[in-house]
């Protein structure tokens, strides 16, 4: 009961899988150790070694292509930097020229006349829409005339750096700064000397910062890419997308000594891959800067995006796998066949050695037995002669029967010893040109009565165009006789024996003897050519017939093959060589 209770306990999935694996562990090991595993191994090794050069080529090519790709990418950005640089430079230059022209063209009185300045600004704005205001600053740094949207009349600029610079150099382009208006802007200041008054004034024009932004925005930026202007101290002159607003400090990833344009990769400065480019804008305190965080995709990814390339790559892989599979199977087949041939050769050699050893032993034994057999035979014969001659011999019939039994036994033993000697003897092959079909008919003729008596149907399918062969007729007859005799023993009454002759190829003729008997089990099939091996009833077979036949065919440079299926029958194929006796 307890056992029953245990059996009905639910089994978990894990236990089921574990149980299955335990039960089939050996099967799995066998599967892995069989040909399939070998094939997989060969495919893998072959696949690895055959694709290594391909992968090397792909890697080298992609590195090389990637370099070209990066160079092309850098050149594109250098061109963008140069272009923007030229735009800004041209813009500043035109503004400076315009302000410079005004300063030189206008008289002191005109400059100092607010109405004239207003008119001038209005006209000037029509031409230069980015002009914010105009102002005239005297030698003390006071803005004496101002025309613009802010209230900057009278403001003192004497302490500002740009004022001192323009006094010394005659012109100045400012960094972007807040100034009195508290808005980021930049200005162009031109000094106008007034020698007749022994003084000077400064004409200052303020430019809208949006113009600079517009010039920068001309660059095609993607994703997290950034473009902005900084001054030599790294102060942002325009807003940056991700590195601060105007007038904030930008952490330079490197010093910027070159005039530019320069563009290159900065390794892991911001914990991510990015490219940095800059160019000093000639005649300004500015450096135009770009940060590209969307570098070109890997060339391999670009290639993989191409559907046609993907299709051909896939096709190549499939073809490669099929070829590998085919090659592995072919190689395995070759190896297997070679192993089978080797095993067959070894087995044949062992069999031949065994036959020779047994043959020698059998010959010795047979000879030694024949002499006592001869004594028994003659003694029994003499007894029979005496009994037959004696008319009044008591129990004459009984004694004659007993002596007859001795003689019969002697004859049985004689058959065995003579066969043993025949098996062992050195056979001299006496070749002659024969018609195989005639030889078959002769052998079948010997057994005709047996066929009739047991109602066994004989089918002869003889190729009438069979070429003649040069071979030992008597020995071949013995082979046919042995095998047909075996077939007769194997088939039941009413069964069929089929004898076929045919040309197999240019070197071989086949004589196939098949029967509809019980067949031979697979485990016995490997022993049927062994001496003394028999499946016949006791006293009916010596187990030497097939051994002798096998030995004969080997000497005749042929062979005997056997196929059998239990309950279906047995087929012996006698391979007879045509070479070197082709007629």
């Amino acid at each position: 009961m307890a056992q029953r209770a245990e059996q009905t306990e639910p089994v978990s999935k894990f236990e089921k899988i574990y149980g299955f694996l335990s039960r089939h562990f050996n099967d799995i090991l066998n599967f892995l150790s069989r040909d399939r595993y070998k094939i997989l191994k060969v495919i893998s090794i072959n696949g690895i070694f055959s694709t290594i050069p391909l992968f090397i080529v792909i890697i080298v090519s992609s590195v090389w292509l990637q370099d070209i790709f990066i160079e092309d990418f850098s050149n594109k950005w250098k061109w963008e930097l140069e272009n923007t640089h030229r735009s800004i430079e041209s813009f500043v230059d035109r503004k400076q020229s315009a302000v410079s022209f005004l300063a030189s063209a206008l008289s002191y009185e005109q400059l100092m006349d607010p109405m004239a300045m207003r008119t001038l600004l209005t006209k000037f704005k029509n031409e230069y829409k980015d002009l914010v205001d105009l102002g005239v600053i005297d030698a003390d740094g006071i803005q004496v005339v101002y025309e613009g949207p802010y209230n900057l009349q009278g403001k003192d600029y004497s302490n500002q750096e740009w004022f001192n610079s323009v006094v010394v150099r005659g012109r100045h382009l400012t960094d972007v700064f807040m100034g009195y208006r508290m808005l980021p802007h930049f200005a162009i200041a031109i000094k106008k000397d007034l020698p007749e008054r022994k003084t000077f004034v400064i004409l200052r024009a303020t430019i809208d910062l949006e113009t600079l932004k517009r010039l920068i925005n001309g660059i095609n930026l993607k994703g997290n890419d950034d473009a902005f202007i900084i001054n030599h101290e790294g102060i942002l002159q325009t807003n940056s997308r991700s590195h601060g607003k105007v007038l904030e400090k930008f952490a330079l990833p490197m010093s910027l000594p070159e005039q530019g344009p320069w563009f290159g990769e900065i390794p892991r400065f911001w914990k991510e891959r990015y490219f940095f480019g800059y160019t000093h804008i000639k005649g300004t305190p500015w450096i135009f800067t770009v940060i590209v965080k969307s570098p070109p995709k890997s060339i391999i990814i670009e290639i993989l995006r191409n559907k046609l390339i993907l299709f051909f790559a896939g096709l190549s892989i499939v073809i490669g796998i099929i070829m590998n599979l085919w090659m592995a199977r072919t190689v395995m087949q070759w190896v297997k066949e070679a192993e089978q041939r080797k095993e067959a050769a070894v087995a044949e050699s062992e069999h031949a050695n065994k036959l020779a050893s047994i043959g020698r032993l059998a010959a010795g034994v047979a000879h030694e037995i024949n002499n006592p057999l001869a004594i028994i035979n003659e003694t029994a014969g003499l007894m029979r002669d005496i009994i037959e001659d004696s008319e009044d011999f008591e129990n004459k019939k009984k004694f004659l029967k007993l002596v007859g039994g001795i003689s019969d036994s002697v004859n049985r033993a004689k058959t065995i010893t003579h066969r043993l000697l025949g098996f062992a003897r050195r056979m001299d092959v006496t070749p002659e040109v024969i018609d195989l079909n005639d030889t078959i008919r002769e052998v079948v003729g010997f057994l005709e009565k047996e066929f009739l008596y047991r109602s066994i149907h004989l089918e002869l399918n003889l190729d009438e165009n069979l070429p003649k062969v040069k071979i030992d007729r008597g020995q071949l007859q013995q082979v046919f006789l042995n095998i047909i005799n075996n077939a007769l023993d194997a088939v039941k009454e009413g069964g069929t024996i089929d004898v076929t002759s045919e040309v197999k190829d240019s070197k071989t003729i086949h004589v196939v003897i098949s029967d509809s008997g019980d067949g031979i089990p697979k485990d016995l099939l490997t022993h049927i050519f062994d001496p003394f091996f028999t499946t016949k009833d006791k006293g009916k077979g010596t187990g030497l017939g097939l051994s002798i036949s096998y030995g004969i065919m080997k000497k005749l440079e042929g062979t005997i093959l056997v196929e059998s299926e239990v309950n279906k029958g047995t087929k012996f194929t006698i391979e007879i060589p045509r070479k070197p006796h082709i007629f």
């Binding site: 024949n370 002499n371 001869a374 004594i375 003659e378 003499l382 003897r425």
Partner: protein, 125 residues
């Protein structure tokens, strides 16, 4: 009519004596000897019509006995007895001096046929 003289030579005494007696019962003048020396002595003193000679004997083989006797009785008809099951065993097996062979154990009727043939041949000589 004179009976056919048969000299049977075999070192197996039981075999030779039994066979000789069976031949005698079939009206042959059969005599058995059991050694090569006796065979030579008897054959030279009283040459047989047919000699049944064992191939394998101690001291002298059947072939040696035959070779010796041929010098004195050139037309002697010898049926060689052998336990080898085949007649072509050994280098001397196929001698042209041998009339016929008989394989042990012997079928008496086959042997008588051979003796009769040998006797006819002997008479013809």
């Amino acid at each position: 009519m004179a009976r056919t003289k048969v000299l049977l030579v075999d070192d197996e005494v039981e075999f030779a004596s039994a066979l000789a007696e069976r031949l005698q019962m079939r009206n042959y003048d059969a005599q058995a000897v059991y050694s090569a020396e006796d065979a030579i002595t008897v054959a030279r003193s009283n040459p047989p019509d047919v000699m049944l000679l064992d191939l394998k004997m101690p001291v002298m083989s059947g072939m040696e006995v035959l070779k010796y006797l041929k010098q004195y009785i050139p037309d002697i008809k010898v049926i060689m007895l052998t336990g080898h099951g085949t007649v072509d065993e050994g280098p001397e097996g196929k001698s042209g001096d041998i009339f016929d062979y008989a394989m042990k154990p012997i079928d008496i009727n086959e042997l008588i046929e051979k003796i009769e043939k040998a006797k006819q041949k002997h008479a013809g000589n």
